[in-house]
Symmetry: C2
Subunit: 184 residues, 2 copies
């Protein structure tokens, strides 16, 4: 490995995390919260399962654990400043919907609000808590999904850490006999 | 939600998965294999933990379960055709390193080979099998990480399903008092 340089273990997340940043909304006792999240993975196609890590230091952790529900919202780069702002204050002390002028919309299934400004909104139920205590890892089932059809080329934000985001501006298509590269 | 259109549950993965496609290598009884993977998440900063879904239909599932080790390789868009090709044949019948002209390099800790052509290589140990049976979900600890310092602006590939990939060509930086948006 002469050509390569060892890379710090503590920075490994910067290589792997650039899926799109999400905004997770939760509700409890008539109050709603919103938090950016980058640590998640699809776990099953149908029903769609999403696994995600939410720190027990975050207000959303308790909101999600108590309510058993949330909404995953997919923001585009136009919302970049609001996304970063949402990650820098706590919902314990601030109503982020009001402070950052985000529009809550009632969902069809869960009590947590959808964010109107986001490209997509996924209503989720918490279906497996086995790894919550050890890893802060929640398994969610997407029970209803919404998309904004007016956004033909949504440019998502992919967090690389420390306020740096990649923005996919290019698309390539390669013939792939398998429908998906992913495990089925 | 008048402005939005309901989105098919079975397509939800196309919204969430665009983290960079990875190539996972495994080794067992002197044979190595390589598989593209998009379903994974960071789970902890230090030591870096990565959770990933690998279908029990894939050769890599048995290789990883038996050996308890793998390497996560991060390819760039220059390897796009090989990445897709690796996802369309099984390592049970084909030596993909030979067939696709990928160069195996010995790791420092694990027996699975690193792929020389990739931008980054993460040597991993399987540390938690609790969700393997139910969700095909493996928790890996990155024990050694390598990066190619010559690649200053690596353009990763972000799979959107059906052979379509997003390529991040643009970077934006926003001031963020917190080091990371992510849970710590």
């Amino acid at each position: 490995m002469a050509k390569n340089r060892e890379f710090p273990l503590a920075q490994v997340y910067r290589l792997l995390e650039p899926g799109p940043v999400l905004l997770v909304t939760t509700a409890r006792s008539g109050r709603a919260n919103v938090m950016p999240m980058s640590w998640y993975t699809m776990m099953e196609f149908v029903p769609p399962l999403v696994g995600c890590v939410i720190s027990n230091q975050n207000h959303t952790f308790e909101m999600l654990r108590a309510s058993g529900e949330c909404v995953i919202n997919v923001p585009t780069v136009e919302l970049a400043k609001k996304v970063v702002a949402c990650g820098n204050v706590s919902g314990r002390s601030v109503d982020k919907f009001k402070k950052f002028n985000l529009t809550p919309v009632a969902g069809a299934v869960v009590k947590a609000p959808l964010i109107a400004e986001c490209y997509a909104n996924l209503e989720c139920k918490l279906v497996d808590r086995k790894l919550v205590t050890k890893y802060n890892f929640f398994i969610l089932e997407v029970v209803k999904a919404w998309i904004d059809p007016r956004q033909k080329r949504p440019r998502t934000m992919h967090h690389r850490g420390e306020g740096v985001f990649l923005v996919p501006d290019r698309m390539i298509k390669l013939p792939s006999p398998k429908t998906s590269l992913l495990p089925k």
